[in-house]
C-alpha cells in the first residue's frame, strides 16, 4: 500500500492539480487500504465465473462437478487439455468457430463500408431530402431486431434462404445506430481538407477514401468493436434461421451442447473457453479502443 501512496505523491504537479477530490484523499493510508479492499472484493465477484470456466475446462468432467461447490473449483486438479479435444469431437467446435468467424467478420467489414458511406453522405452532401433522411435514420434507431424478427424470419423462409451464411450476414450490415455514429463523427470534422481535395479535381469517393477514412479511425474502431461484440454473441436470430450444425454459430452451438446428453461439464467449459478467450485477448490488447468505443456509444443526442 505504501507504494501506492508514494506514486500518488510522485504524480506531476499539473496532473495533481487536475485530480479530483477522491484522488487527493487517497493520500491517507487507511483510505487507500479500504479502497483496495473494496476493489479486490469486487474484482473477485467479476472474475470468479471466468476463472471457474478456465479451471473447469482443464479438469476431468466428474472432478468439475465434485469440486464445483468449494474453493477446489478454482484449483486445476488433474489438469489436461483433453476436454478441448472432446468438445471439438462431440460438438464440432472448430467448425462452429469458423462459421462464427466468417459471419462476424463479413458483417463487420461490410457494415463499416456501408454505414460509413451513408453517414458521410448525410454529413457532407447537400442533397434534396437530406433532413428527412436524417430524421428517418434517427427514428429507425429505436426499432430493435426483436420487434420484426419473426416477419423477417418469415420473409427469409419464403425466399428459402434459411440455413445459409448470407441470411445471417445481409440483415445486419446496414445499421441505423452505426450510421448515426458515423454521421455525428463526420459532422465534427472540419471541411477544409476535403474542399482542398475537391479543388484538386478528385471525385467524392477518392476524397472520402484518401482524406476522411484515415481521419475517422476512432469512429471505425468504435463501430467495429460494437458490431463485432453484437454479431459474435447473437443467439436469437440463429435460433430462427439455422436448422442443422452446418452454418450454425458458436452461441447457438453452446446453447444446444449444454443440453446434449451425456452432459460433460468439462467439455462444456472447454467450449465456453474457446468462444470467450479470443475475445478477452483481443479486448486486453485493444483495451483503450474498447473503452472509448463503449463510451462513445453513450454520446448520443
Amino acid at each position: 500500500m505504501n507504494q501506492a501512496i508514494a506514486t500518488t505523491e510522485a504524480v506531476p504537479a499539473a496532473e495533481r492539480a487536475a485530480g479530483t477530490k477522491t484522488g487527493q484523499r487517497s493520500g491517507l493510508p487507511l483510505k487507500a487500504i479500504g479502497s483496495y479492499a473494496v476493489l479486490v472484493l469486487l474484482a473477485a465477484f467479476f472474475m470468479f465465473p471466468l476463472l471457474f470456466m478456465f479451471v473447469g475446462s482443464l479438469k476431468p468432467s466428474d472432478i468439475v462437478l465434485v469440486d464445483g461447490s468449494s474453493w477446489r473449483a478454482f484449483i486445476p486438479f488433474g489438469a489436461s487439455l483433453a476436454n478441448f479435444g472432446e468438445a471439438a469431437a462431440r460438438a464440432d467446435v472448430g467448425h462452429l468457430f469458423i462459421n462464427s468467424l466468417l459471419i462476424t467478420l463479413s458483417t463487420v467489414a461490410l457494415g463499416l463500408v456501408v454505414n460509413s458511406l451513408f453517414g458521410y453522405a448525410l454529413a457532407r452532401f447537400r442533397f434534396v431530402g437530406r433532413g428527412v433522411v436524417v430524421a428517418v435514420v434517427i427514428a429507425l434507431v429505436i426499432i430493435p431486431l426483436e420487434a420484426y424478427a419473426i416477419p423477417l424470419f418469415y420473409m427469409m423462409a419464403q425466399l428459402q434462404w434459411l440455413d445459409t451464411y448470407y441470411v445471417q450476414i445481409l440483415p445486419f450490415i446496414a445499421n441505423p445506430f452505426y450510421i448515426y455514429l458515423f454521421y455525428t463523427f463526420f459532422l465534427s470534422l472540419p471541411k477544409e481538407l476535403e474542399e482542398q481535395s475537391q479543388l484538386d479535381g478528385a471525385n467524392p469517393l477518392v476524397t472520402f477514401w484518401r482524406i476522411m477514412v484515415p481521419l475517422a479511425r476512432p469512429a471505425y474502431a468504435t463501430v467495429a468493436i460494437l458490431s463485432f461484440l453484437y454479431s459474435w454473441g447473437q443467439l436469437l436470430w440463429p435460433v430462427l434461421v439455422t436448422r442443422g450444425p452446418d452454418v450454425r454459430p458458436l452461441p447457438l452451438g453452446i446453447a444446444e451442447f449444454q443440453t446434449l446428453p451425456p452432459i460433460q461439464w468439462g467439455d462444456i467449459m472447454a467450449f465456453a473457453t474457446v468462444m470467450t478467450l479470443p475475445l478477452l485477448v483481443v479486448f486486453l490488447i485493444f483495451q483503450n479502443a474498447f473503452v472509448q468505443g463503449v463510451a462513445r456509444s453513450g454520446l448520443k443526442g
Binding site: Q3, A4, T7, T8, T20, K21, G23, R25, L42, A43, F45, L50, F52, M53, G68, S69, A73, L117, F118, A121, F125, R126, F127, V133, I142, E146, A147, Y148, A149, I150, P151, L152, Y154, M155, P171, A174, P176, P204, L205, L229, G233, L235, L236, V239, L250, P251, L252, I254, Q258, W265, M269, A272, M275, T276, L279, L280, F290, V291, G298, G301
Partner: protein
C-alpha cells in the same frame, strides 16, 4: 457580415454532382435498410392483423384486433410482461447505482486502477450464451459454487434450487445479467464523470463542501443526462431479455421466467403462428417506443446545466 458572405458558396454546392454522389453513397445502405428493417417492420404491423401461419394450406386473412385481444388476455403473455416489468423494477435501479459506484471507484487516481477497470469490464466481452452456460453450473443446487457459498454463510440453511424454483429463477437471471452488463454502464458513466469540469469540485472544496455534498450537488446533476441514458437503455435491454432465459430456464419453471421475447419466439417460431407473434412483437415495440420518447423528453439539451 462574414456569415452572410459565407452563404452563397453553400447554395452553389447544391448541384447535380452532389446529388449524384449522395445517391451513390446512400444506395447500398438504403437498399439493405429497406429490405431488412423497414419492410419486415411494416410486415410485423401488417401481419399482426392477420391469422398468418408459417406453413398453412389456407391463405391468411384479416382478423382485425383479434391477435391483440388474445395477447392481452393470454395469462402467459401477461405473466411474461409482469416478469419484464419486475426485471426492470429491480435491475434498472440496482444496475445503474452499481455502475455509478463502480465508475466512481475506477475514477480514483490510485495505482493499478486500470487493472480493476479491466476486470470489471471483462464480463461484457464474454458472449451471453457462454456466460449463461457457466452460470447454469454455478447455480446447480448441490454441486454449484453459489450454493456452496450460501451454505457456508448461512450454516447450511439457505440453498435453493435456483433455476428450478419459481421464486428464485428470475432473481438468478437478474444476478447474472447484472454481472454481465454492469461494466458497459460503468464505462458510459465513467466517460460522463470525466467530462465534469474539475473547477466545479475545486470551487466546492474551497467553500468547504464535504465529499457527499459534492456528490449530491455536483456529480449527480452533472451526470443527469448520462444517468437517464443509461437507465433508458438498461430498461429497453430488460424488455429484450432472451438469451439468458433461453440457455438457463427456457421460460420455466411454471412461466416464472417467461418474457415478452420468449413469447414472441415460442408463438411465432415454436407454434408457427406468425400473426399472433407479430401482435406481441408490436406490443413490445410500443413499450420500447414509449420508453424512448420519455427519455427524449427528460434529457435536456446538451449545454450548461449547473
Amino acid at each position: 457580415m462574414a456569415a452572410v458572405t459565407a452563404t452563397p458558396p453553400r447554395k452553389a454546392r447544391h448541384n447535380w454532382s452532389d446529388q449524384l454522389a449522395a445517391a451513390g453513397f446512400l444506395l447500398p445502405g438504403t437498399i439493405l435498410l429497406v429490405a431488412f428493417l423497414v419492410v419486415p417492420f411494416a410486415l410485423a404491423i401488417g401481419y399482426s392483423f392477420t391469422n398468418l401461419r408459417l406453413i398453412s394450406p389456407l391463405p391468411a386473412h384479416f382478423v382485425g384486433w383479434l391477435n391483440y385481444q388474445r395477447a392481452l388476455a393470454d395469462p402467459l403473455v401477461r405473466q411474461a410482461f409482469g416478469n419484464n416489468v419486475l426485471f426492470v423494477v429491480v435491475v434498472v435501479p440496482v444496475q445503474t447505482v452499481f455502475a455509478l459506484w463502480l465508475a466512481i471507484l475506477v475514477n480514483q487516481k490510485i495505482r493499478g486502477i486500470r487493472i480493476f477497470r479491466t476486470i470489471f469490464f471483462a464480463p461484457v466481452v464474454t458472449v451471453m450464451a457462454a456466460a449463461a452456460t457457466i452460470w447454469k453450473l454455478l447455480y446447480a443446487p448441490d454441486s454449484g459454487l453459489i450454493n456452496g457459498f450460501m451454505r457456508a454463510i448461512t450454516l447450511g440453511h439457505f440453498h435453493p434450487d435456483w433455476l428450478h424454483d419459481p421464486h428464485f429463477a428470475l432473481p438468478a437471471i437478474m444476478l447474472m445479467s447484472i454481472w454481465q452488463g454492469v461494466g458497459f454502464q460503468m464505462i458510459i458513466i465513467l466517460a460522463g464523470l470525466q467530462d465534469i469540469p474539475r473547477e466545479l469540485y475545486e470551487a466546492a472544496s474551497v467553500d468547504g463542501a464535504s465529499g457527499w455534498s459534492q456528490f449530491v450537488n455536483i456529480t449527480l446533476p452533472q451526470l443527469r443526462n448520462t444517468l437517464i441514458f443509461v437507465g433508458t437503455i438498461t430498461t429497453i435491454l430488460a424488455f429484450r431479455l432472451f438469451d439468458q432465459v433461453f440457455v438457463l430456464t427456457q421460460g420455466g419453471p411454471v412461466g416464472s421466467t417467461e418474457t415478452l421475447m420468449t413469447r414472441v419466439i415460442t408463438t411465432g417460431f415454436g407454434q408457427q403462428r406468425i400473426g399472433a407473434s407479430a401482435a406481441i412483437a408490436v406490443l413490445f415495440f410500443v413499450v420500447v417506443l414509449v420508453l424512448s420518447l420519455i427519455q427524449r423528453i427528460f434529457i435536456r439539451e446538451q449545454g450548461e446545466i449547473v
